[in-house]
Symmetry: C2
Subunit: 340 residues, 2 copies
DNA sequence: TTGTAAGCGTTATCAA
DNA sequence: TTGATAACGCTTACAA
C-alpha cells in the first residue's frame, strides 16, 4: 500500500493541502511546527515516499550522478568506482554506472546517453578519458556546458570541468630516482598506456635520468599493449626484451600487474629479487601482496582523491565556487622487491 | 538548444499534434509513413531527445535496473557488476549501482532506496545476500512483490525471485576429491564466508571425504574472518594453525585470496608447492596468475552466469515466463600449485 | 490516420 | 502560515 500513496492521499489524511505536504517534504521553514508534526506522522505511518519521477520532472533532477569508466573490472578502476559511489550516496546522490570500453566513440555515446538521462553531473574515472588530440576531447567540453564534469586522474582545462589527480610525474620520478641514487643505471620502464597520466609517468622516469645528468635510452622505455589481466603476456614481453640482449637491474612500471609480470619473468630466469633485479609497481593494489617478495609500489592516494572529488562535486552542485584542479602527491611504499 | 526542445516544439515544427510525435517516438504503427518521415526529419534536425523524467512519470519506468552488491571493489564482485552492466546496457537498460556493505540493515536500506526510485528490477550480486535466518531474507521476498529480483550466486525460493548460480557444492567436492584420489588425506579447508554459497562449498568439501569413506575432521575446516585484501592476515592465520600442530598436505580454499595467503605461508615455511603442499583457489581470478607457482582454481563461470541472468531478467520484464533457477557447473582449472 | 485532452505526482507561484 | 492552481513533458484513452 505504502508505495501507492501520493501526496494527495497524505494531504487528505493530514487535513492539509498538498502544498503543505510538499513543504514538509522539502524542509521548508514556512510550516507551523504543529502542522509539520501532524503531516510527518501520517507520512511515517504510511511509509510514504514521494514519486521519484514526478519529483524529477519538477526539479529536473533525480539527484543522480553518472559514473563513466572504461572497465569497472579493472582492479584500480573498480576501487575508484566503489569509493565514489559510496561517497556520493553518503551525500544522497545515486550513481548510474556506465562502462564504456576504451573506444572514443563509445565514450561519446555513453556520455550522450547520460546527458539524455539528465544526470546532475558525470564523473569520468581514469586517465584514459583524456587523449592527445584536442578534437577527441571536445565532447567533454561540450557536455560541461550543461553539467559539471569531474575527472579522476586526468587533467583537462575547460570551463565547468574539475580535475582531481595524483602527481604521477613526480611519483614516478621519485621512484626512479631512488633507484638511480642507489647506484643503478639501467632501469627498464614498463608501461601500458599513452594517456595523459601515462605520459606524465613516462616523463617522470625520463626526468629522473636528466636530473642526475644521465642519458635516457629509448630502448629502456617499453610499452606493453596487452590486457590488464594478461600477466603471462607481460612476462613473455619482458623475456623477449631480455632475449634480444637488453639488460637491466631494475624495472619501474606504470601499473602493478606489469610489476607482477616482471616478477614472473625474474622467477623464470632465476634472477633473485631484489638482488639481481629490483621491481617497482604502481597503484599499491592488492597485487603487491600477492607476488613473492611483495612489491614496492606507488600509492597514488585513490581513496583521498575520490573523497575530494565528491566534495568538489557536491560543492559545485550547491553553487559554491570550487577549485578546478586538486592534486595529491603519490607515496612510495617500500616492500621486499626493492633494496632502496 | 536541442536539449531544451519539447514534444510541443517538435509537433509545432512538424505541423502535427504532440500525440503523433509521441507515436512516432514510440514506434506506433498507426502513423502514415509520410507523416512519420516528416516528424523524424524534424527530430533529427534538432537532435531532440524526449525528457526522461516525463517519460518515466508516464510509463512509471525509466528502464533502469538497480545493482546491489556488498563491495564492488572486491575483485569477483567487480567483475560481476561489470558483466551485468554491460549486458544490461546492450538491452537498453541503465544500471544504478548501490554498494551496501555486509550489514543486513544497510542492505535493506539500499533495497528500499532502489524501490523508491522505481527501478524495473534489482540484481543482487553475491551469495552474501542470502542468510540463514529466514527472517533476515524476508525483505527480499517483500520487494519481489513489486518487481522481479535477480540473485547472482545465491539460492532463494520465493515468487518473482530468480536465481542464477554455480554448483559450488559439486565444484568444491570435485576439487577436494581429486586430491583425495591422488592419495592425500589431510586437506585443510580454508573459507571466509558462511553465506549460502559458503555453506555449499563447505558441504562439498565434507562430502568428498564421506564419499571416499573417510572421516571429516572439524579441525581441518577453518574460517578466516578478515578482509579480502588482508593476504598477510591469511598467511598469519594459517601459520597459527601450523604452529598449533595442525599438519596438512593440501589446502582447498573458498576464494583465491585465501589461496594466495596460503602460498605466502608455504614460502615462509620453506614448504615446496606442490611437492610439500598443494593449494587450490576458487574463482579463477587474476590472482591465480600472480603467485608463484600459479594457482589451480575453480572457474565458476561468472561471465556465463551474468549473461544468463540478464537474459532471464529481460525475458521476465517482457512478460515471458522464465525459469526461476539456472545452475552452471564449475570447472577445475589445473595449474602449478597442484599435482593432480 | 490524426487530434484533443485527461492524467501522471511532484514543485513553485500567487493569493489569501 | 496556508491553500489553489499552474506548470513540468510525456503517454494514452477517446473522439473525430
Amino acid at each position: 500500500m505504502s508505495n501507492q500513496m501520493t501526496i494527495y492521499d497524505i494531504s487528505k489524511k493530514a487535513g492539509v493541502s498538498i502544498a503543505t505536504v510538499s513543504r514538509v517534504l522539502n524542509g521548508s521553514s514556512n510550516v507551523k511546527p504543529k502542522t509539520r508534526k501532524k503531516v510527518m506522522d501520517i507520512i511515517d505511518q504510511y511509509g510514504y515516499k514521494p514519486n521519484a519521477f514526478a519529483r524529477g520532472l519538477g526539479l529536473n533532477s533525480m539527484k543522480t550522478i553518472g559514473i563513466l569508466c572504461a572497465d569497472s573490472s579493472d582492479l584500480y578502476l573498480a576501487k575508484a568506482v566503489y569509493f565514489i559511489e559510496r561517497n556520493l550516496r553518503e551525500n544522497e546522490y545515486n550513481s548510474v554506472l556506465c562502462c564504456t570500453g576504451y573506444e572514443v566513440e563509445d565514450k561519446k555515446e555513453s556520455l550522450k546517453l547520460l546527458l539524455s538521462q539528465h544526470v546532475d553531473s558525470v564523473v569520468m574515472v581514469g586517465s584514459n578519458f583524456i587523449l592527445n588530440e584536442a578534437e577527441e576531447n571536445q565532447y567533454i567540453k561540450d557536455a560541461a556546458e550543461s553539467i559539471p564534469i569531474m575527472l579522476l586522474n586526468a587533467d583537462y582545462d575547460a570551463p565547468n570541468v574539475y580535475c582531481t589527480l595524483c602527481d604521477d610525474f613526480k611519483a614516478t620520478q621519485d621512484a626512479t630516482e631512488a633507484l638511480i641514487k642507489s647506484g643503478i643505471d639501467d632501469i627498464l620502464y614498463l608501461y601500458n598506456s599513452r594517456s595523459y597520466s601515462g605520459q606524465k609517468k613516462l616523463a617522470g622516469y625520463q626526468s629522473a635520468y636528466l636530473a642526475n645528468d644521465k642519458v635516457v635510452n629509448k630502448d629502456y622505455q617499453q610499452c606493453f599493449e596487452g590486457s590488464h589481466e594478461d600477466i603471462e603476456g607481460v612476462s613473455a614481453f619482458v623475456q623477449k626484451l631480455w632475449d634480444d640482449g637488453l639488460r637491466f637491474k631494475a624495472i619501474v612500471t606504470s601499473e602493478d600487474f606489469l610489476a607482477v609480470g616482471a616478477t614472473k619473468f625474474a622467477k623464470a630466469n632465476k634472477l633473485s629479487i631484489p638482488k639481481d633485479l629490483q621491481i617497482i609497481g604502481y597503484n599499491d593494489s592488492v597485487l603487491t601482496l600477492c607476488s613473492e617478495p611483495s612489491l614496492t609500489s606507488v600509492n597514488n592516494r585513490l581513496e583521498d582523491m575520490c573523497i575530494q572529488l565528491v566534495k568538489t562535486l557536491i560543492g559545485t552542485l550547491s553553487g559554491t565556487e570550487m577549485p578546478q584542479k586538486t592534486i595529491f602527491s603519490g607515496e612510495l611504499i617500500k616492500r621486499g622487491s626493492t633494496d632502496i
